[in-house]
Symmetry: C2
Subunit: 153 residues, 2 copies
């Protein structure tokens, strides 16, 4: 395939990332959330009381950043910090009612988006897309891994 084709395809992918980002950011804003805060809630969704350290590892972000995100979510009433039963150092980040509602709303939004994108797509197109997508992701993973080796030296 020609180079121009692959460049064009890459540009389309980048266009997609921008569109997705905009769409999701707007939905989140409507619910009083930012991307990072929503990400935290999303993580909290499976296994609600979590320590901040656990969240830091799950989100791939420093513990200090979690402190800030949790501060924001506490201020807006989505979560509370509860004492850990066995470890007085740790705080358990716990959903409030509002937080649980928001968590379910995020899930609904996610499903609705998947619907909107894929529902009336012909099955063959869908399969062709996902097949290619898997390959693209695999190539990207390779690339990242290779560069990671360099850095590790």
């Amino acid at each position: 395939m020609g180079l121009d084709d692959s460049r064009h395809a890459l540009n389309r992918i980048l266009e997609l990332t921008v569109l997705l980002n905009d769409d999701m950011a707007r939905d989140l804003a409507r619910r009083g959330l930012t991307g990072s805060r929503a990400h935290l809630i999303w993580e909290l969704r499976d296994g609600s009381p979590r320590t901040q350290n656990g969240l830091a590892k799950a989100l791939g972000v420093s513990p200090r950043t979690i402190t800030g995100l949790v501060d924001g979510l506490v201020a807006r009433g989505f979560v509370t910090r509860e004492p850990h039963p066995h470890d007085r150092r740790a705080a358990l980040v716990t959903f409030t009612k509002k937080g649980e509602r928001a968590s379910r709303a995020l899930e609904r939004d996610h499903i609705a988006l998947a619907h909107k994108i894929f529902d009336d797509m012909p099955a063959t197109t869908f399969r062709g897309f996902t097949r290619g997508l898997d390959e693209v992701i695999a190539r990207l993973r390779e690339t990242l891994a290779t560069k990671g080796e360099h850095r590790a030296r």
Copy 2:
């Protein structure tokens, strides 16, 4: 197609956006650039002397933000502010030698990435992917337009 399939596909797309972001951010950091600053350089690439206002519209960002981005690029020697020949209010953001080199490097990186992702992908897979991708983008555009109407009311 089942709901689970579309949800899974959406998750894969999100995974892709994260991978792409990481990969590009790392390349940019290697060149002393951030995503936003690179974006500005990318825009400057086609039609080098540009006013900040023009850049603001091109990047879809407030003029004040451009001031900040240009400040950063000037401090690092990628661009200069030159006086506009006919309008003493406006500054023309202009590449330095270093900026031009960086601009070409970004282009090379872009091409290399497209290569890495698509080069050894079977043509049928590639076509299937781009076809689906076009549809996905179209659906997203629709969604955004619909919501935009709401906001416009």
